[in-house]
Symmetry: D2
Subunit: 374 residues, 4 copies
């Protein structure tokens, strides 16, 4: 048997891989920071064997509480992923699985590779405009797609945290709906809004198999007050383009390691945030609640008191700077406990459906914001 | 050149077809009734030729007013249909088109064949149950699909009027969404409702290329008070199955030859129809208005005073007999003038999107009707 | 439970269909002739039930010897067909099968509908020319596709016998290869030959569910000496077009009910058939033997002595009239016993591969025939 | 405008990229060796602009003669690649192209990424066995697929030279045919042979965008006499597996920068190579000539006199060590001048067809080698 991770977003440390019944692994840290939770590796030569894989340092990971109730995913064909039995004892995460084929992949969540990202951008051409916002530290393109011809400037960014691959799946679902010429939601939206979409804010971190940081070890979602070319060019360039276009609605897409629900964090705690914006935010969330049974509002982050540090986060910075509805949308790594799927848990496919559904809430927001333009 | 119509739903009468610039045709009547508006034919051997096709009896058709603003559709590959220049002078409908290929089809709307119907049913197996409700007069199966395990009995029927092929496209879109295991709308709906779907209520009429009637010449949507084995077994069998299951929500899908909008006709005029049902109907329509920019409520049928004959219509009969929300949904043959598409007009693809969107309104209705079950 | 056959090529007679364990059926005769062997029907409402279907008149069918070793095919989704246990006692053919779904189809061979035929033609547009040769007795188009720009006139016709649906599957595979712009065989062939392809010589018989005859009861492959508008317009029109173009190579595609092999019948017995043609025929067959392990030359029709009646057959007529290689290609209804597939037997997919492989032999023939043009 | 190459097999050096009409570039050398000819880069922000890209050091590349008659390829969607006007003056290669979209890729040949490679392997599971032969210097898996259950051991390897991406396309076409359960060629072959396929012998070089060498700068096709873990583990592991299984037929797939034809180089010059093997080699080539009009035997490498260094090449080493037919198959980077395609030149699609066709020659070889087993 052999374990490898030398591919896009591959990440694991091998301690012992001689005995299928006693595979010992460690979860690798980010390439230049101490975050650790993401794993993605391939096991070869194990058809018919009962694998017991113990991730020994699970208890020392960034979100060790997230392992409670977590089930790892596996795939033979890299298309269809399914959950496999996984147990956590507070220290070690143990994955137990009998491989049906010679080669099997395991991952924290369904990966979304840089090759697939480039395909996503390429398929959108020429229906959309593509703008090169700038380059990552390792020289990857930060691409922004733009679509529609309306006055409302809607920005959607994803994958500041590179291990949150469900976020790019969400964007793929959203883009596919935008490219559907028969969909009345998108046909109407194109009249009212211009969408600016950055499917991958952190391509280096994604390719490197990082959980939360870029090639310099920066957590991009703490860089919005003072991004720099040296440490966070990805944010610097995106933020500049936002100031160039203006922002009327902002969605920053994330994944959450611990909470088994889809939820949103808003801007109501920001001092001076207009009551009218709080009402619009409320309307957006009420609408999304109607549209998607995978969304809910009971569970989420505890309501924080405002602190200046908050403005280092993308959605707070944008809400504050542009005076617009600005939301962090979080999807689970585990499942939506309100509508659980034991076979797949939360998945790429469900993330895509949520991305498509989001457009209905975006349209409602644009209609409400500019009632005279309809 | 040659004109033929010997295929599923083919219908035309040829008066003169020797000169491409002077093709004279008549729209054929239904096989056993005087309705006439549907046409569907193929022209061969005309690559590069400028065809002028005059439908001489257009002014004598069942809905001659419907020709105003109507554009015929054409296709080379029978997959992609597009509108071609069409003029109506109050008597003659003239289609002018230069064929790019040796073979081209023209039709009143995108056809939906019996073969495709059988494939639709077959693809739904085994995810759905299939019940043979009975046979048409010519011996075709009247199939009912059922799906979900909830208490609410939702019935959706289509194509009582066989020339309204957009109605089966709508159902195809609806079924495809039901079969999507990642869609939270359908996953939730399966818990609350059992859907009973009859994709084609009039298979004989559809295969025969009829506009409004079955093989006996009956307009099925006038048969609901007293259906008979001899004249309307299609209605007789479906009605019986409804009484067997009960009905909590009913949607009857139609096409309208004249009005260039999607609209709905309800049951508020029926004596004794409960105020609570009127409110539920209102909620359904308000929700659908939110969901689909292709729906609207300004244009539609004039509010009728109730007459006993009304109960011969499916939606009125069901609303009256079962005391439930019961709607006739109408799609245009032309286009939705609120969101026009000059290339395609109203289309199979747009009908499918509307079918998928309907499920969101159905889910909302089921949630509202049984709030304690959520 | 319910049995129906009211669809394209549907054919069965129901004697008793109340008890799944005792279903009694008869194979229907052709619509206007006494041939009988084709069946195609649907059984509904039988999920989980062990069906025993006895075809009581099997022993009286046209090729009753063909039932020995024959296994019927079944499908739930009308795409994937598989063989089911079938026994023949010299009189009754008994099909035993437990249906996994509510709806299941049984047939003599994988059907190829008129709708699929029209799609096949339509997909070939505009890469190919389409010529309307004439109309069948019931008014269906007899279409000829033409492809390539070379001097050699190659004619390929299929489905004179409408129940031999594998023949149109073969043509579909052949056409798909012709439409592949990267295939060097077809790119080269286009320079040397013009292909004339009639995918369905007998559309009426096919739609009617006939085994061997058209709507007038004529066996088209006995009409080539004296076709008539009244009895065999399908042959009359095709034959005329052949005389218009000339023929340098002719392939007539058939199915055989009895012999479990792919084989060819040639023209060597025709008086006056040139020795050079016999050599070319031999070269064609030797080449096909190399190309396709599904072809063989041991088993086939006994070498007949020539009789004048032979010239009523398409391949003999053409070989005689045009002095060219002219072959009848036969595929089994059962399986190729040299390379058996117990799950599928001979199939649509294998027929398509044979159609694609034929083009290599056609190319070799064209190269050999005109060596100076290469 | 912006030029980037930070992706799988990306390779270019940018000298000046400010003026679309005066873009100056250099072709990058391999990562650890002086070979240089491969390029692959993306240009953004240039919709509607006439690009003039000059590759200034083309005259100093490894196969500078290969630029004569060469046309670069371009793609917007990364799926469809087409040739663009390219001129070579003996020193500078100038690509002139007006981009229709915001983003366009240029490359030496259609790329085949490591992600696609992993998908290729994963799709073959579980129909094939996958063996991890060993790891590349950078830790990538060297995978061998095996298929079939026959006695003849057939080895097919590709992409020793990583810039020859057409070789992995060829293997993809070959594998797709092996996975077709209806193809008689592969069904027969499975009985006679066991195929051992290494789709990518040099994954590091491929990912790095190298032309000819691995991560250590080694030209793997000069390492077969004395491969080492330090310099050429890819060869070491594959060679060992060959000795474990034995080899009865060997095909090593390559691309040639200069000669615009598909051709083969054999083993007839090896001292002691048996006359029977030369005859078998001749039979293989004669058969391939029949099968694929893209193959030819007039043009190719000059017949070399044997030198000991020859045995450092894979096909010579294997022919010598195993006493079997052992061939180097070469495809052009430009086009097959016998059957040119001005739009695509030689392409991924044509490489795939050649891979599928090869199996017919392999089958013939296996039949001839073991006539008693048929
Ligand atoms: Ca997070
Ligand atoms: Ca109507
Ligand atoms: Ca026959
Ligand atoms: Ca080379």
């Amino acid at each position: 048997m052999h374990i490898s991770s030398q591919f896009d977003s591959g990440a694991i440390e091998i301690l012992a891989a001689a005995d299928p019944a006693d595979i010992r692994l460690n979860i690798r840290s980010d390439s230049a920071a101490e975050f650790r939770q993401w794993f993605h590796f391939r096991v070869s030569g194990v058809a018919g064997q009962a694998l017991v894989m113990r991730l020994l340092n699970a208890g020392d990971c960034t979100y060790s509480d997230g392992w409670h109730g977590y089930q790892a995913i596996a795939s033979y064909d890299r298309r269809h992923w399914f959950r496999v039995p996984t147990a956590y004892d507070g220290k070690v995460l143990t994955i137990s699985h009998t491989a049906e084929c010679d080669s099997v992949y395991y991952a924290y969540f369904e990966p979304y590779s840089w090759e697939r990202h480039l395909d996503l951008i390429a398929q959108a051409v020429p229906e959309m405009r593509v703008m090169h916002l700038g380059s990552s530290l390792q020289g990857r393109d930060i691409d922004k797609l733009s679509w529609g011809s309306g006055a409302q400037q809607v920005w959607i960014i994803a994958r500041q945290h590179p291990g949150e691959s469900m976020t790019e799946w969400l964007v793929e679902g959203l883009i596919e709906r935008l490219l559907d010429p028969a969909d009345p939601v998108t046909r109407k939206l194109a009249q009212l809004a211009t969408l600016h979409i950055v499917p991958n804010m952190n391509p280096d971190g994604a390719a490197l198999g990082n959980l939360r940081s870029n090639a310099a070890g920066a957590n991009l979602n703490r860089e919005w007050m003072a991004p720099s070319l040296e440490r966070s060019p990805e944010v610097l360039h995106a933020r500049q383009a936002m100031h160039d276009s203006g922002v009327d609605l902002f969605l920053d897409i994330h994944g959450d390691e611990t909470i088994p629900y889809v939820f949103v964090d808003g801007c109501e705690m920001i001092p001076g945030y207009a009551a009218s914006l709080v009402a619009q935010q409320e309307a957006f969330l009420a609408r999304l609640l109607q549209i998607s049974p995978d969304f809910q509002r009971e569970h989420g982050y505890a309501p924080d008191r405002f602190s200046d540090e908050m403005l280092t986060l993308a959605s707070k910075y944008v809400g504050h700077a542009f005076g617009c509805v600005s939301l962090t949308l979080e999807m689970p790594f585990k499942d939506n406990a309100n509508l659980p799927d034991p076979e797949h848990g939360w998945s790429a496919a469900r993330s895509k459906r949520l991305g498509a559904a989001l457009l209905e809430a975006v349209l409602a927001h644009c209609i409400d914001s500019k009632p005279e333009t309809i």
